[in-house]
């Protein structure tokens, strides 16, 4: 009916192909999370067995009621059977109720712990990690993967055990009632196992494609909605729609339909095998009743048991998929948890005392661990006195941002060392180091919440007055007061409510409030109008005052005023000095200056 559709790009398949089945390491890793709750676990296990006893007793008591009660005309036997049935039902009720309370709570606690330790671990991972892992993938790990484990821990573990025990109990009860009838019933077991295996093999690949199709649909959607303005500007709606409905969505449809075909065959097949067992029991068992080897009650009990015999089997085969999904999710979570903290605190790291702000780079080189053949920084030597302003200049990719990342220990140098006040920064705790450093990024990042909270983030001990003072100092107070709710105005997702210039001023205020000894500033390149520009320049001067500062500079005013300019090229400092000296050298700086910086102001039609 369907022609084979266009397949999604291969990377949509990767994530869940890691694992094919049971992996003892993953089990062990997950068990470590269950360990603190083993008491609850065993308790619910016990309760589960009690509950199963209640469930298995039912058909037997029906048999007693029929054979000893009704057949024999004994009211008291009938009453006793009914009372026992009531007792069994109450036992099942109580056991199930408490098991749900105990186990599900423990399960939720496990999930809570798991998310907390994932998040805690993320807080320690190096920046290199975050450049490799996209935000979306991390969220999928902490949210979706943990959720699929939740299903497993809270329901499936017990459900599997319950199915298993019910199955054992039912089989035992059947065998006790009548050996021959039991064997007739069990005769269909191999058929069920066969059907289940065929089905499982069939759907595993289909489900994998369905999952890939889902992520494909998801990513196409996200991209085209995110870029909808460009889509409309280039009138791509029709083309996009044809591709979405004809390829992406179609792929999902085709595989969903394939899955539907298999499922539609599987469950009725299992159902039919149940019916086959019942008719066997009726035919052969009935004949046995007539031969008086079997009582009518036994026959009825068997029919009831067969129902309860097939339910756990169906359940188990369904759980198996869940089990697999859990293994995959578990592996991914453990992979994240076991990701090494590349720039962790060294054992015995000490608190960095209050610093003066002297910075020393000694023969510092750096390359990324996954690309050792491409040096990003080579043999950098640098000595900065407290309070100096250093301007870093050079093309994109020259190594400017890497240099400051090493200073703030987002990465560790592969060779050489970085010293602050004479102390190798790898020997001190990161928290004590970063508390004394301020970083202002090119794209000012504001958190959801109010303007106040965003500035306050710089120093959580600061009072409301301090926050205002910082805002005043960078010239942000006036526009903040003009916002509808002043300092309490919410900053929307990504700071949409505020202009670029305003966001910068807020991030300046945040850095000023933190009052760092060393300030790192990645100057924004995006243009703002002339008034805002002046405001920012003033704020910058205020921010740099009295602290050692490293500025990735784009503003000529910043560069000219700095104490030392480092001109970087291909991971090396190729020129250093003050503005006038560097211009005199007539080297790279002169070229950048005459062609680049001045281009911003000097009319290019001028010459």
């Amino acid at each position: 009916m369907t022609t084979q559709s266009v397949a999604p790009p291969s990377y949509f398949h990767h994530e869940d192909e890691i694992l094919r089945g049971y992996d003892p390491n993953v089990i062990r890793g997950l068990l470590a999370f269950i360990h603190p709750y083993q008491r609850e676990f065993w308790l619910s296990f016990l309760l589960m067995i009690l509950g199963s006893v209640g469930a298995v007793a039912g058909p037997y008591l029906v048999k007693v009621a029929l054979d000893s009660g009704i057949e024999q005309g004994s009211v008291s036997a009938l009453r006793n059977a009914a009372l026992w049935y009531l007792a069994a039902a109450l036992l099942q009720w109580a056991a199930t109720y408490y098991r749900l309370l105990v186990m599900a709570r423990a399960g939720q606690s496990i999930i809570y712990d798991m998310r907390a330790s994932l998040f805690g671990h993320l807080q320690r991972l190096s920046m290199g990690f975050f450049s490799r892992f996209s935000v979306g993938r991390l969220i999928a790990r902490v949210i979706s993967d943990v959720t699929s484990i939740r299903n497993f821990v809270t329901w499936a573990v017990i459900a599997i055990a319950r199915s298993f025990f019910t199955l054992i109990g039912v089989m035992a009860a059947m065998l006790a009632l009548d050996l021959k009838l039991s064997l007739y019933t069990f005769a269909v077991l191999p058929l069920i196992i066969l059907a289940t295996m065929v089905f499982r093999n069939k759907v595993r690949d289909i489900y994998r494609r369905v999952r890939a199709g889902n992520s494909w649909v998801n990513s196409v959607l996200a991209e085209n909605i995110n870029g909808v303005r460009v889509v409309q500007a280039f009138s791509r709606q029709g083309y996009n729609y044809r591709r979405f409905s004809g390829e992406t969505n179609k792929y999902l449809l085709d595989n969903n339909l394939q899955a539907a075909r298999s499922i539609s065959l599987f469950f009725p097949t299992i159902d039919f095998l149940g019916t086959l067992a019942i008719s066997l029991v009726v035919w052969l068992g009935g004949a046995a009743v007539l031969g008086a080897q079997v009582t009518p009650g036994v026959l009825v009990a068997f029919v009831l048991y067969i129902e309860r015999f097939f339910q756990p089997i169906q359940d188990l085969s369904r759980r198996f998929d869940q089990f697999q999904a859990t293994m995959i999710a578990g592996e991914r979570i453990l992979e994240l948890l076991h990701t090494e903290v590349e720039t962790g605190d060294a054992p015995g790291a000490v608190e960095l005392p209050r610093i003066r702000g002297e910075v020393l780079f000694e023969h510092v080189s750096f390359h990324y661990s996954d690309d050792p053949s491409t040096p990003v920084l080579e043999e950098v030597d640098l000595s900065v006195r407290p309070g100096q302003t250093i301007a870093l200049v050079g093309e994109t990719g020259a190594g400017k941002s890497t240099l400051i990342k090493l200073l703030s220990r987002f990465h560790d140098p592969t060779d050489g060392r970085v010293l602050i006040d004479g102390v190798d920064i790898r020997t001190v705790t990161q928290a004590s180091l970063r508390r004394q450093m301020g970083i202002v990024l090119q794209e000012p990042f504001l958190f959801g919440g109010s303007v106040y909270e965003n500035i306050h983030f710089g120093n959580l001990d600061a009072s409301a007055e301090d926050v205002q003072a910082a805002a005043r100092a960078v010239g942000a107070h006036d526009f903040i007061m003009n916002l509808r709710q002043g300092y309490q105005s919410p900053v929307e997702e990504g700071g949409a409510l505020l202009s670029v210039g305003q966001r910068q001023l807020i991030s300046f205020a945040r850095a000023l409030l933190a009052d760092p000894r060393i300030l790192i500033l990645d100057e924004a390149t995006s243009s703002v109008d002339t008034q805002t520009e002046l405001l920012i320049q003033k704020a910058l001067a205020r921010l740099l005052e009295g602290r050692t500062s490293f500025v990735i500079a784009h503003r000529l005013s910043t560069i000219v005023k700095s104490d030392l300019i480092l001109v970087m090229n291909q991971g090396r400092i190729v020129e250093r000095g003050r503005h006038s000296d560097l211009l005199k050298q007539g080297g790279l700086y002169y070229n950048l200056y005459s062609m680049g910086f001045q281009e911003r102001i000097v009319d290019k039609y001028d010459e």
């Binding site: 790009p9 029906v62 009621a65 009660g69 009704i70 009914a82 599900a104 709570r105 809570y112 935000v135 969220i139 902490v142 949210i143 998801n218 959607l221 991209e223 909808v228 303005r229 791509r236 709606q237 996009n240 729609y241 979405f244 179609k250 999902l252 449809l253 539907a260 539609s264 009725p268 039919f272 149940g274 019916t275 086959l276 009726v282 035919w283 009743v289 007539l290 009518p296 009825v300 994109t396 987002f410 508390r435 970083i439 990042f445 958190f447 710089g458 202009s499 390149t525 243009s527 002339t530 002046l534 784009h554 200056y593 005459s594 062609m595 680049g596 001045q598 102001i601 000097v602 039609y605």
Partner: protein, 591 residues
């Protein structure tokens, strides 16, 4: 729940399949209801009256019905799944298409994540309801009616007694199902909070690290995590009350049947087979009723999903192509703004007021003014990203609202301050506006945009995939791809919205050169912060607070001594400072 009605138009194209599925379901249900009757005959005629052949017949009938039921059930299941999958496919297509056509004003307020979840989660809940929930609900209904009827036919008194516990069962499960939607809402909410806390933390990881705020962030995450825990535990506590009680009530019915029915059997008013059959009916009835919890919940989720999906589908695109567009020949590119005012939806202050100007074909129009003055808004009105609130924008003398929207936009090339590329090959990104463009044309455009050389240096040249799943281009490289993309459609009108401000200085130099060539023979609008970028324009508009404050050529504006002059002087002061410094310091013999 009333939103569930909206599912009807979605399944209308599949009426035949739905009717077939319901008929098949009725058949499956009746075949299930036949079984207890056969068991009754097995006991009463086969075992009690010792008719051996009755046993054989019964066994064969059970087997035959079983086989028939399996086939019918398989067909029913597949028909249902097929229909629900198709409906989901259609709905997802519709949403995607509609979202693509919704205007900028809609997208300004919408969040990508929300819209994606309309197409994934909400469509998913509709699919789950159609493929599983609706059918099971129907089956519960068929089964209840059928089983009760058969029980009453057998013995009315016993039927009433046996179904007594079923009443609280139905009430409690449906009540839970209804309450559950509120509880699951709380869970969804908490989960949403948790994931946005996480997202923010990961996106802002550098800031968190820079300010050593990890403990604070862990605290924030913990409170969201705790809230989720509480919400889930609340669901479990409620569920723990309902689930075991349901099973208990079913057992209670069985006990009543055994006790009361057993007594009747002893008195001879009922046969043993009838007692057993009674229990069989009860079990058939109880199974779907116990599922009611989930079914009501599924229906609730589908209703909520439909409501949200239709909120999107029912919001009309505010900018639409006219039914009878005015046809124009080749456009010359004359643009006129006539008394144009514009205000963004939901904002009191108008963004533009009383804008009047004419751009003659092939002229360069410069726009300058403070951030937020309305420059970008003004140019957005030309390709109808927004429609004017008052006045009109005319292209070659025709109101843009009278032109075919696609034809209009195909005449206009835009390069923004930061350009969004799709995760696709560079070739596809350049060919965005002309998907079937030839390789030669793409290369010509890339060359003109000064992009060809760096593209050749990427691993697979034009086939290199960029974006999240591919390589990362620098800001300057992205801009040049965007310029090539605009150039490829060979637009009559070109809009450059601060196109070079977010790239480093050397790249800017290259891009400026590319742009100069690109502007020839087109009507061009340049938005800039620097006087230098606009001073040679044929018309410069100085925009402030949504109005044209000053207009004219560079020299006229300087003479006016207004805002333009002010900006110019500020920039010139720096310029002069550097020029003198440069000439003082420049080594002799250079250049």
């Amino acid at each position: 729940m009333k939103h569930l009605r909206k599912i009807l138009p979605l399944i209308r194209p599949y009426r035949a399949q739905v009717v077939v599925a319901v008929l098949l379901l009725a058949a499956v249900t009746s075949m299930q209801l036949v079984i207890p009757g056969i068991i009754r005959d097995v006991i009463d005629r086969g075992l009690v009256q010792r008719e051996l052949h009755a046993l054989g017949v019964s066994a064969l009938v059970i087997l035959g019905i079983g086989a028939l039921r399996a086939i019918t059930a398989a067909l029913q299941r597949y028909t249902t799944e097929w229909t629900s999958t198709r409906v989901a496919y259609d709905l997802r297509n519709r949403l995607f298409n509609h979202i693509q056509h919704l205007s900028f004003s809609y997208h300004d307020r919408a969040q990508t994540g929300q819209l994606v979840s309309r197409c994934i989660e909400d469509v998913g809940s509709v699919q789950a309801f159609l493929g599983f929930g609706a059918i099971e609900l129907l089956q519960a209904f068929f089964m209840t009616v059928g089983a009760l009827a058969l029980m009453f036919l057998t013995d009315a008194r016993l039927a009433i007694i046996a179904s007594l516990p079923v009443i609280p069962l139905v009430i409690q499960t449906s009540a839970f199902g209804i309450r559950a939607s509120g509880m699951f809402y709380a869970v969804d909410n908490a989960l949403g909070k948790l994931s946005s806390t996480l997202q923010e933390n990961v996106t802002g990881v550098q800031v968190v690290r820079a300010f050593a705020r990890e403990p604070h962030e862990i605290g924030r995450f913990d409170s969201a995590n705790r809230e989720l825990f509480d919400a889930r535990v609340h669901v479990i506590d409620e569920w723990a009350k309902v689930m075991p009680t349901s099973a208990f009530l079913v057992s209670l019915s069985t006990i009543l049947i055994l006790w009361v029915g057993g007594r009747m059997a002893m008195e001879g008013t009922l046969s043993v087979g009838q007692v057993v059959a009674f229990n069989g009916y009860l079990l058939l009835l109880a199974a779907p009723v116990q599922e009611l919890v989930w079914l009501v919940n599924t229906a609730g989720e589908a209703a909520a999903g439909l409501q949200r999906a239709f909120e999107v589908l029912d919001s009309p695109p505010s900018v639409r192509s006219p039914a009878m567009p005015v046809s124009t020949g080749n456009l010359t590119g004359r643009v006129e703004f006539r008394d144009v005012s514009f205000g963004y939806e939901g904002e009191e202050e108008p963004a533009l007021q009383q804008i009047n100007f004419i751009a003659q074909p092939n002229q360069v129009i410069g726009l300058i003014g403070p951030t937020g003055a309305g420059k970008t808004t003004l140019v957005s009105l030309i390709p109808r990203f927004y429609d004017v609130t008052a006045g009109s924008v005319l292209l070659d003398g025709v109101d843009v609202r009278a032109l075919d929207l696609t034809l209009l936009r195909q005449q206009i090339g835009i390069v923004l301050q930061t350009s969004l590329l799709f995760s696709a090959s560079i070739r596809e990104n350049i060919a965005l506006g002309v998907p079937d463009a030839s390789e030669e044309r793409i290369i010509v455009a890339a060359r003109a945009a000064q992009a060809h050389d760096f593209i050749l240096r990427t691993p697979e040249a034009y086939a290199t995939v960029v974006g999240e799943r591919g390589i990362t281009l620098s800001g300057g490289q992205r801009q040049r791809v965007a310029i090539a993309r605009a150039l490829l459609i060979d637009p009559r009108i070109l809009i450059l919205d601060d196109a070079t401000s977010s790239v480093d200085t050397e790249t800017e130099h290259r891009i400026q050169n590319a742009l100069a060539g690109l502007m020839k023979g087109r009507t061009t609008f340049i938005i800039a912060q620097r006087i230098a970028s606009v001073r040679h324009a044929d018309l410069i508009l100085v925009i402030d607070k949504g109005r044209i404050l000053e207009r004219g050529r560079h020299a006229d504006l300087l003479a006016q001594k207004g805002l333009y002059r002010e900006i110019n002087d500020l920039q010139l002061a720096q310029h002069a400072e550097f020029k003198t410094e440069l000439s003082r310091l420049a080594p002799a013999g250079d250049d």
